[in-house]
Symmetry: C2
Subunit: 424 residues, 2 copies
């Protein structure tokens, strides 16, 4: 196979005719496949069925002397705090255990900053003339949407192999209107990048002009390796504290991709001063989150070691799916030099960089052939990829057989779009 | 027994010596009893233990073709919507099924009005110079706190035997800064009043000056009779629609006092136009609420008739507790003419009106003797009862034996405070 850019116009024309034929053949199959979202597959759900047969004995209703079935314990069961603290490497008293979705806790943190202000705010953000937020991109579309929905100005920060471009970050935070920054520090969404120690040091030691700068640390994939061993990762709370920034960070995690998506438990972790401040606001909003489900998770997951064993079982399901995707790309696309991608070892995505100007066209072709992917541009603020290049592949939901078909469609569409772009 | 006001100073003095002796005797017992919150008792929790042994068969994971274990279905399981719709008398498509707490849904509705505005808002409420909210009082302290926390001005509306004083309401809503009103329409908290048909008609047909007036309809005790048969109650959504006010109302309910407090499911119900508007905002905040718990509740509660059977079992536990309280008051306090109260047939509270100026003193005496009650004033905006009279009694948590002791303490304290007030 020859790189498309090195082909003659004639050769490209022939190749285009060939891949178009292939595309029509795939389209004729009437596929209906979905690689749009990081949704676990059925085999992963079946993996945790034992979680439903807990809480059957009266002694299961009591945790540290608390009847988990009644009102109370705003910040969650102590045992659930200990579990998350062990997983995240922070202290139990820094953990607030919430409901079924960390996204809701993240939204609520931003919303509280907007309506009431944070611990170190001079005023609620709704009283600020303008609020800006840093968005390392490509990133998680739902993060960007939260800050967009409050009318914040989203500032794109480029991603590097080590995490966000810290030169750009350090410059941007000199503006006091820049109030915070989104992060998925381990197996970033969608690039699968692990922030380097140096990036974390520079983040933890930032000196933002805004006194209430909010470091949103979404540790969504903290134990989500699907290849190789569990990778230790620094506790961002301790790192920030080391540099006098204890109150700058809110960390988030959940069991949505450990037990049940949308029926697990979530948490935020922050300094004790932030915790006292947030509890004062949260006590107006909720008496307590679902402690029965917290207890169910404590009984099921037990501790970090036991949870990591479960994650190995998820990895056994996820690993082959990711290899299927990346191997197909290596085989079909690499020699053509029309796209690049990483080989992540954890998280839920493969981030593909198509030839600039071809992402939208590629995904439109995919859709026409019955393969739904995350919309082009979704990984950038306001849904606009300036290069029209990034494509987020979410291989977790379809079984491997379906995935093979879906990725075959994607490869053909990448080829067509690239050839159209180069001229045929 | 003679009414205290008809006693001579001499007689009151003797009586005070007598009740003080009684008080010291009770205090010496070192009691530690709690009637502060509407917390179900252990017998009620044990009543629903079967809810834990559901969801054990693979077919239980599927509802209307949806795998309840995975992400999706922002507005909840259709089967859960049907269950709440049947209970509330509205349409399933008017129901949004949420998480473990209706308080959180109420807070979120107010918060959304503040940050983004409601369907008919001219601007978000955070951009209004002043927002006022009507608080029928005595009322639910947590309601008042929510609106207070957003800096709204709380306006007290007196309660009558038929619900809020509608003359006062109709006058107040002529001010366009008055943006909404709290309601617990059936077995109101704490008075246990059921809004009359005429009150509901006047509410549903209101013509508020604010285009985005928000009728907060917390139907917390919609099926919570503990004496007599279930009482039908009008569907406020249909009532409002009848008068062209379809978009004015948000109704709330939960199973916290049906299944498990803080581990049940909740809902809001509103017009289809409001639903479309709210879903657009909510999709930024959450992928879905806990559908596993929704399904667990659908399997457990089945339908309205089956749910009402369960409520009869709760009534068998609750009824004796309320009778214990009211009988003691009838026996000990009524002849003295120092307080009045209602005899509610549902809900979670007995609302007692002590001699004006004596509520605080009564509760301080109770506390000193080891009996914790809802703080004096809590049932009024800003926690300030202008009469210092209303005392909310929550008899649900303690077993009857403890309740008898607690109410004995309360009676003695009421006597002491009244005598002190009359002069001894």
């Amino acid at each position: 196979m020859t790189a498309y850019s090195k082909m003659t116009a004639e050769e490209r024309k022939a190749e285009y005719a060939e891949v178009t034929r292939e595309y029509e053949g795939l389209k004729a199959r009437g596929l209906n496949l979905n690689m749009a979202r990081g949704k676990p597959g059925k085999a992963q759900l079946d993996l945790v069925s034992d979680i439903f047969s807990l809480m059957l004995k009266p002694e299961d209703y009591v945790s540290d002397g608390i009847d988990v079935r009644n009102y109370g314990e705003l910040s969650g069961l102590p045992a659930a705090k200990r579990l998350f603290a062990e997983i995240l490497g922070c202290k139990p008293e820094q953990v607030f255990v919430g409901g079924n979705a960390s996204l809701q806790l993240m939204y609520d943190t931003i919303s509280k900053a907007y309506t009431h202000g944070l611990l170190r705010s001079e005023r609620p953000w709704c009283k600020e003339p303008v609020v800006k937020f840093l968005c390392p991109s490509p990133g998680y579309d739902r993060h960007f949407k939260v800050t967009e929905s409050f009318g914040f100005e989203l500032i794109t920060i480029p991603m590097t192999d080590e995490g966000p471009d810290m030169d750009a970050v350090e410059k941007a935070i000199q503006d006091p209107a820049v109030k915070g920054m989104w992060n998925v520090p381990k197996y970033s969404n969608p690039d699968g990048i692990i922030y380097s120690a140096e990036t974390i040091r520079r983040i933890a030691s930032m000196k933002p002009a805004a006194p209430d700068f909010l470091l949103m640390w979404d540790n969504a994939y903290c134990i989500h390796e699907f290849e190789g061993d569990y990778m230790e990762f620094p506790d961002i709370l301790a790192e920030c504290a080391k540099y006098g920034n204890a109150d700058m960070v809110f960390e988030f995690a959940s069991t949505s991709k450990v037990t049940l998506p949308g029926a697990g438990i979530s948490c935020f972790a922050c300094s004790e001063a932030n915790m006292a401040y947030m509890e004062k606001l949260l006590t107006v909003q909720v008496i307590s989150f679902d402690k029965v489900n917290q207890q169910r998770h404590v009984l099921y997951l037990k501790d970090k070691a036991h949870t990591l064993e479960l994650m190995k079982k998820h990895a056994a399901i996820m690993g082959p799916k990711f290899r299927c995707v990346v191997d197909a790309l290596d085989r079909e696309i690499a020699p053509l030099e029309i796209a690049s991608w990483r080989r992540p070892k954890g998280g839920y995505f493969v981030s593909l960089y198509a030839m600039p100007g071809t992402a939208k066209r590629t995904l439109a072709l995919c859709k026409e052939a019955g393969v739904t992917m995350t919309g082009a541009g979704a990984t950038f603020p306001y849904g606009k990829d300036p290069q029209d290049s990034n494509i987020r592949i979410a291989p977790s939901l379809p079984p491997v057989e379906e995935l093979e078909q879906a990725i075959a469609v994607l490869c053909v569409c990448l080829k067509m779009a690239a050839l159209e772009c180069l001229g045929v």
